[in-house]
């Protein structure tokens, strides 16, 4: 490669890295505990909950819904969701079908007895704090998009780093760590080795992280485009709350229409995820790959008949598959531990990169790459 080309890559590497490094350090550090989100929540939650009848039959969803509405007189049902690892049904109610998030009331019920389940006392909000810092730095959508832009710069830094790896390694065997000559060479060799071995992982986590920062626009577009399309075909007037068909029957009909899928979420008529005349039932697949892929089934709220079903469009699938690949929570505890180690290696690459810049030789017009070339390492 020509010297001018290399120095252009060096320029890209230096500036993309410098701009994104502090953000990436924050993301790597807050990401560490988030890998173990479930384990930490479980360890800090002092309440142990057991179903009233562990082996007993499950209640009808209508009975759970009646219980929830009885506790909240005058309210209407908005959503129903289902815990994955315990027989718990969550019901969200509100004063009106289009109630704002702040007016909603969330309650959990034992699926075997209908009794209220106390909310988890959790970690006092520590994990939520870290998650929000990691997601948007408490800046909402602009914060998410800013972190997405930093992710793009980071990807460019990694790619330029791969290009720059070559001139440094002309005279060195893979894995060589020159630790005795100078501190700078030792940091440089560690930076290059750790950077190059983590390349694939870091690109996947970085790229899926960038996709996750686009979650809000992607979901908004999905709702506006496909769900609106599906619901527009089946407008059928407004149904007053209380005149719905059995939600239990609606769920059963939806499950029959999408065999082999697991129930995830129910949206009642009038809310943001349904129409005025339909109950929307959201189901997902059962393998690690498909459990993130959601199929909405629209059920007529009066007749209880399935009127439509639509798979996620590709962009919503891409978002859904980006989540496990970013969080590393899809392959058991050993995968989480490996995620931690690779994250730590990445932190080392970031810190050593910063060191190499801070401890750069005077008159930096000649960068390391050019020095490497000048020493004959990459000359013809």
């Amino acid at each position: 490669m020509r010297r001018s080309t290399l120095s252009a890559w060096a320029f890209v590497h230096k500036w993309t890295s410098l701009i994104c490094t502090l953000f990436l350090l924050m993301l790597c550090v807050t990401g560490l505990p988030l890998i173990f989100h479930d384990e930490i929540d479980e360890a800090l939650n002092t309440q142990t909950w057991r179903p009233a009848h562990p082996e007993g039959p499950l209640l009808d969803y209508d009975a759970i819904l009646a219980r929830a509405l009885h506790n909240r007189p005058g309210e209407v049902p908005l959503f129903m969701s289902f815990d994955i690892d315990r027989p718990v049904v969550n019901v969200t109610t509100g004063p009106r079908p289009d109630a704002a998030a702040g007016e909603m009331h969330f309650a959990s019920f034992d699926h075997t007895s209908g009794e209220l389940v106390a909310p988890s006392n959790g970690d006092g909000g520590l994990m939520d704090f870290l998650l929000q810092l990691h997601t948007d730095m408490f800046l909402g959508l602009p914060g998410m998009l800013l972190l997405g832009a930093m992710g793009v710069l980071f990807i460019l830094a990694v790619i330029s780093g791969i290009v720059l790896y070559a001139p440094f390694m002309r005279k060195l065997d893979f894995g060589t760590l020159r630790t005795t000559r100078s501190a700078r060479l030792a940091w440089l060799d560690h930076h290059n080795l750790l950077g190059v071995v983590t390349v694939a992982w870091v690109l996947v986590v970085g790229f899926t992280g960038v996709i996750n920062t686009l979650a809000t626009p992607i979901l908004d577009y999905w709702k506006a485009d496909q769900l609106a399309d599906l619901t527009a075909q089946h407008q059928g007037g407004t149904i007053a709350p209380g005149q719905f068909t059995s939600v239990h029957a609606a769920i059963a009909a939806a499950e029959a229409a999408a065999p082999g899928m697991t129930l995830q979420f129910v949206a009642f008529p009038g809310g943001a995820f349904s129409t005025d005349a339909h109950i929307a039932v959201f189901l997902h697949g059962r393998t690690p790959l498909t459990e993130h892929l959601i199929t909405p089934v629209l059920v007529d709220a009066q007749s209880g008949r399935v009127v439509g079903l639509r798979e996620m469009p590709w962009y919503a699938k891409a978002l859904s598959l980006s989540q496990p690949l970013h969080f590393g929570d899809y392959g058991g505890l050993p995968l989480k531990i490996l995620w931690t180690l690779l994250d730590l290696l990445t932190i080392f690459v970031l810190v050593s990169g910063l060191y190499l810049w801070l401890a750069r030789s005077r008159g930096d017009a000649r960068s390391d790459v050019l020095d490497a070339l000048a020493n004959g390492d990459g000359a013809k």
Binding site: F174, R178, T179, L335
Partner: protein, 63 residues
């Protein structure tokens, strides 16, 4: 590609190990996604590759 005398290692030689590790990592990332049990175990071994190489280099490649 055979390196010319004095020109150092070829691009292919320089990137042989990094490419192998990248393929191993990607295989690991995908394996845990497509299945459970044996697929998870495969992903652990594959993703342990890059970490093991770093440990190997620190133990055996210092000079």
């Amino acid at each position: 590609m055979k390196p010319k005398p004095g020109s150092g290692r070829s691009i292919a030689a320089i990137f042989a190990m990094p490419t192998l590790l990248a393929c191993l990592s990607l295989a690991g990332l995908i394996a845990a996604l497509v299945g459970n049990d044996i697929w998870d175990v495969l992903s652990w071994f594959a993703l342990a590759g890059p970490v093991a190489i770093v440990i190997w280099a620190i133990l055996a490649r210092r000079r």
